[in-house]
Symmetry: C2
Subunit: 196 residues, 2 copies
DNA sequence: ATTATCTATAGATCTATAGATAATGC
DNA sequence: ATTATCTATAGATCTATAGATAATGC
């Protein structure tokens, strides 16, 4: 099962081979089919698990009971750290969804409730802040999308970004930390903006 | 060749089949091998072309001789429109690069010079603006990364975003236009921020 | 003569299962 | 008895080429 996760995440459904998965797991491939029947079946279990993980990543944006701006800062930071620990997750999910639209259903079932809940909580925080007199112009959904966009893209494009900025492999973490600060700054700039 | 582009872009290198490409092109698959020798060879040509297209997308961020803020606004807008017209491009490139690191070389060769040039021009614009007394706090690279992040992610995540926001297929363009305005606002918020 | 095209097929994988045998749980 | 495991292989693809034949350019 772990072997299947690794193979599917690295190569995708089509390129991953049941023989390789079996070999990695240290069993004969006949056993794999004995337990999971089909490749598709095995994949579905892995996919479900990974979608769940993606849903969890949204939750990390909400954080502890601390002042508003720090809360956002912590949320962005935790979200990016989560993605950095699961760097193949977003690309894998996006790829499999566009490649096989049937999988959107799983996606909807798992992600939608979590997404709605996070947006709701975030909206409450924003509203509370506004009642305090702060100028928080955006909808929670927009704020969330901005954060997720920049964080996820940072991870997705990391190989290309490192190529283009001529960053070496051992400076990866440093590169991510610097980018994290930029993202926090960018997100906060809209939240602290003086309107009118 | 066009058939190959479509098949590779939709399915990726591994899942695309030379027989399907030939069928789509209306020739026997023997002919395909006669002209291109190997699948890998055919793919390389397609990949090169698509990387070139991606490089072009960076250039659209720079735009005509108009006032600074409008210039940025136009750039963001043109970039997103470009991506919306080539929605599979970013995912395809990212997927093939992580799946086969050998392809990073092509990527580097084509993208790096274009990327450097765009950054350079953008930096000049920012510097000129700063000399005029405007407060433009960021490096061109950071600004560029912010714009590209939000625009590309918008396209990458469009299927999921439409799922989560319960947007119907026919409202796709409207959804994109709304998101575009949000992105422009977000980008400008940092550029017009009052520092200190 | 050289280039283009077709049919047929070799050779390599890959998924999935059949059928035989060993291990395990009442 | 039921469940787990192995070997062997059927059946389906897919890439790539061989070999024969038709079309094209000097």
């Amino acid at each position: 099962m772990l072997a299947a996760e690794v193979e599917f995440m690295e190569k995708g459904f089509v390129a991953a081979k049941t023989t390789d998965i079996a070999r990695r797991a240290g069993v004969t491939h006949a056993m794999l089919h004995y337990y999971y029947r089909t490749k598709e079946n095995l994949f579905k279990q892995v996919f479900q698990k990974k979608i769940q993980l993606l849903a969890d990543s949204f939750v990390t944006i909400l954080s502890q009971e601390i002042p508003f701006l720090e809360k956002i800062q912590q949320g962005v930071s935790a979200h990016l750290d989560f993605l950095a620990a699961n760097p193949r997750l977003p690309l894998f999910v996006l790829w499999e969804i566009v490649g096989n639209p049937d999988r959107q259903e799983t996606c909807r079932e798992v992600l939608l409730p979590v997404f709605k809940k996070v947006i709701e909580e975030l909206q409450e925080i924003l509203d509370a802040e506004r009642r305090r007199g702060a100028s928080v112009p955006e909808s929670a959904q927009e704020l969330m999308l901005n954060i997720v966009s920049m964080n996820v893209f940072t991870i997705l494009s990391l190989p290309i970004a490192m190529l283009l900025t001529e960053t070496r492999e051992e400076d990866r973490d440093q590169f991510l930390q610097r980018r994290k600060q930029q993202i926090v700054r960018q997100v906060l700039s809209q939240l602290t903006e003086n309107h009118k």
